[in-house]
């Protein structure tokens, strides 16, 4: 499923709303998650999962072709941890 299909499915359940309002809602949700992560905050959605940002420390990398050392500065990576209910639903409630 891609974003436009998600919008279409929500629109079908809410015939009283315009499709562009639904688009706006989906984009606002994703935008809020992105903005939170940009400021280093965590986003916790019970039953679904949590988004957070992890820091990768600066290190000395190597150009694999020349073997030359190159400094790699600290960087941040987005991280998602699946929520408990979601994990259980994926496994018919069998795995805790």
């Amino acid at each position: 499923m891609i974003k436009s299909e998600l919008v279409a499915r929500i629109a079908a359940q809410n015939p009283h709303l315009y499709q562009r309002d639904i688009e706006n809602i989906v984009n606002t949700i994703l935008g809020t998650v992105v903005d939170a992560m940009k400021s280093g905050d965590r986003v916790e959605l019970r039953g679904f999962g949590a988004f957070s940002v992890k820091s990768r420390p600066a290190r000395t990398g190597r150009n694999p072709r020349t073997g030359e050392k190159v400094p790699v500065s600290e960087k941040f990576v987005p991280f998602f941890k699946t929520g408990k209910e979601m994990r259980e639903r994926l496994n018919d409630g069998k795995v805790s």
Partner: protein, 106 residues
Amino acid sequence: MGGKTVTRADLCEAVYQKVGLSRSESAELVESVLREIADCLVTGETVKLSSFGTFSVRSKTERIGRNPKTGEEVPILPRRVLVFKPSNVLKTEINGGDASSVQGDD
């Protein structure tokens, strides 16, 4: 840096502020969006959200694990896990970059 936790309530508030709907309807729609994504993933289907990332379900086979405290061997049963692959736009934005300069992202 950071330290705050954003929750459903914050998402509902953002939707309420941006879209001209009531608070309760905003909350319902946030719920619908999350439910729709979750339901889709439970069927095993991948969910691709452009400029955000991709959620997909991976099946893991059984393997032997070890209780790190007792050293005892325990079977880890086959299971399905949810993985999130952030888009290049998201990765760039989180590092303070300009997302509009990211190419080839879906």
